[in-house]
Amino acid sequence: MSQITRNAIINSTLKLAECKPINKITVRDIVDDCGITRNTFYYHFCDIYDVLECALKTRLSLSDTSGSGQIGDDAFFSLAQRVVEHKKLLVNLYRSLGHEKTEAYLSRRLHEIVLAYIRQEAAGLPLEDSDLNIIAIFYEEALLGILTKWLRGGMPAELSEDLVDVLSRIRTIFGGQIRTAIEKSVADRSSTV
């Protein structure tokens, strides 16, 4: 019952966030929409930003959709799909909370996905931790830049407005680059030994 109520609060908040800026939404708006009492709201959450944090974690959570049990670029596309589904919410958050907090959250999720993907690609290879982090930061920032540019509405007109289309194209063009980077790193390290 407790989880049902939490989800009801989150759903109401997300619904309201689609229509008005985050900083204009009040607890009263949420309890009016939800039909719960004020005390019930504060039993589950500290404030609206607490609800949004929880919503981001549950709605944009990492998802293993490959079916093979491995976390790969399917996880990234799953995240991208969720970003598209919740574009209004994220744009609202971006404008209300500022780009730093929204990017910080997306960055954390991307870091987990990219790191897991690199480790998967580097399985069996003696990749140094420092090079692993360099590769992770490089691709994480590239992907974050694309996501935030899309959220801000800054994508060039020639590109598709569908984020997933754009990301599919990027995968086609840059596919295999991470593997290449890993192999170069390993070869370089071997030659200096």
């Binding site: 049902i4 009801a8 708006d29 309890v31 039909g35 009492t37 004020r38 005390n39 549950t58």
Partner: protein, 195 residues
């Protein structure tokens, strides 16, 4: 509990609370308008019954569980105070008569404190009129203090009691009107778009 039953309970709690506030306001007017010797002698029983009824409505409001849970949250304590005060006025008026101005003053201060809490919590809750609730609460507390300070000023004791109760009744009336929401708690399992 069925939705309709819950709506009925909250509505009746709001109405009884409004009624009690109106009674307090009228008591205040009466105390201002009538000569002191008539008021205290003839009105003691009525005031005792009134205080007890106001206390009972307060406790009822506390357990009604309205959506906002702002206006009635302190009414268990306040209601209990009023029930005891009413009981003393009815059964031991001679012991409490001299303390009545102080009791009225403290009652008004307590009501004002309650409104102060409503204002502060209402601000964070998202009520736009919170500032007016705050101002009226501060006025209520100030008048309650004045009623205590003038409790022994023979000529003006009743006047100050009347002003204090009149203001308390008015403030409580409009605060209840604004902050008590008559709506049932929706069954959160109904129409839930679960993911």
């Amino acid at each position: 509990m069925e939705k309709k039953t819950h709506i009925a309970i909250v509505r009746s709690a709001k109405i009884t609370h409004l009624f009690a506030s109106a009674v307090i306001f009228l008591y205040g007017i009466l105390l201002i308008a009538m000569p002191p010797e008539i008021t205290f002698v003839r009105m003691r029983l009525l005031m005792g019954i009134g205080a007890a009824v106001i206390g009972i409505t307060g406790v009822y409001g506390y357990f009604s569980n309205d959506v906002y849970r702002l206006a009635f949250q302190s009414d268990l304590a306040l209601g209990t105070f009023n029930i005891i005060l009413g009981g003393l006025l009815i059964f031991s008026p001679e012991k409490i008569q001299d303390l009545l101005p102080y009791a009225a003053g403290f009652f008004v201060i307590l009501c004002g404190g309650n409104c102060l809490q409503i204002a502060v919590e209402g601000k964070y809750f998202g009520m736009h009129q919170w500032i007016w609730i705050l101002i009226s609460a501060l006025v209520e507390v100030g008048i309650g203090i004045a009623a205590i300070l003038f409790a022994t000023d023979g000529n003006h004791t009743q006047l100050w009691m009347g002003i204090a109760l009149g203001i308390a009744g008015a403030v409580n009336f409009w605060t209840t009107m604004y902050t008590v929401r008559v709506r049932s708690r929706a069954d959160v399992t109904e129409n839930l778009n679960m993911q």
